[in-house]
Symmetry: C2
Subunit: 195 residues, 2 copies
């Protein structure tokens, strides 16, 4: 068991041993619940046919939730980014998961990402709703910025579609003094007009 | 000497001891240069009559530099924030140093900051140049945000003046997954339209 646990990311030999001894001491029903959860992952997890997020049905819960605004689509790299945006409780639209970011050196080009599916999705009226805005929420690092630039280029000519990019700048609670030059430069050039 | 050095911020007893023993081993001219620099601080540092930044003359180097754009003023809390913005090499305007941020619990209200001087400066044409944009670059924390809100309110009614706020959002090189909810929420709500 220690060997198997040690293969998990972020679990080193010592943590694996600690988890293993913890499991020895818990009640059998707790072990059963963990085993059942693992079984559900193995058998049940699929990808949403609309957005590409992990799902336990053909359509994920967000894509099948009628209260979510289908005209607003937030494009992210990975399913874990969907969770990050959901935690903000600020976003009431839907998602599109690319499955990564452009990285030519690792052989990841546009065809390796779910970009064609995004274009199809914008072209079709899913559930009778047109997509009117695409928010590009790829990471603000080299690959994510390259992906954002590429997406802006291919989405530019679609009539009636607004394309936006999440803001880069100073994190909340931060301090100018401790911001790196690049971030503070972005915060300045991306300043918002208030009056 | 160890006692005196230990009074400096960020210098604990051990660092003070290390610095003291280092100074014992350096050449006398190096000590002279340090002493002279300290003397210049004691005798010479004043505040720029225009922007309130630290200066060695009536006007600081930035306010007296004709190549800087006097129509664009970046409002910051402290002189160290001027240095932070200068490091980005993105900003070619001038500054206004408030000398802090609104903090009613510590007794810092509008009258304790250089806000009246800012209004005077906007009213006067300094060197024949009108101020057309004020960029509020206070820290994105509670006091800095309160100060920004206050400044927007009092600057709102000045005709022909644009007021802007530096962007809050994800720092460059960052990752959605590790952003806190508040920052990611700001990055979303402050998204920039690209197309």
């Amino acid at each position: 068991m220690i060997d198997e646990l040690g293969k998990l990311p972020g679990v080193g030999p010592k943590s694996a041993q600690r988890i293993a001894f913890h499991l020895l001491s818990v009640e059998p029903p707790d072990i059963d619940r963990l085993t059942a959860a693992l079984g559900r992952v193995r058998d049940g997890v699929q990808f949403c046919e609309v957005c590409g997020n992990v799902s336990d049905a053909d359509r994920c819960r967000i894509c099948s939730d009628a209260r979510r605004d289908g005209s607003l689509v937030c494009v992210v790299e990975e399913p874990k980014d969907v969770q990050a945006v959901e935690r903000t409780r600020e976003f009431r639209g839907r998602y599109h998961v690319l499955g990564g970011a452009l990285d030519p050196l690792s052989g990841i080009g546009p065809d390796q990402l779910r970009i064609r599916q995004l274009l199809n999705r914008i072209g079709e009226r899913i559930d009778g709703v047109d997509i009117t805005e695409v928010i590009i929420a790829t990471d603000p690092n080299t690959e994510g910025e390259a992906t954002a630039t590429y997406l802006v280029r291919i989405l530019r000519d679609i009539p009636g579609l607004t394309v936006s990019r999440i803001a880069s700048g100073l994190p909340m609670g931060g301090d100018l003094e401790f911001a790196d030059e690049l971030t503070l430069g972005r915060a300045l050039s991306g300043r918002r007009q208030m009056v």
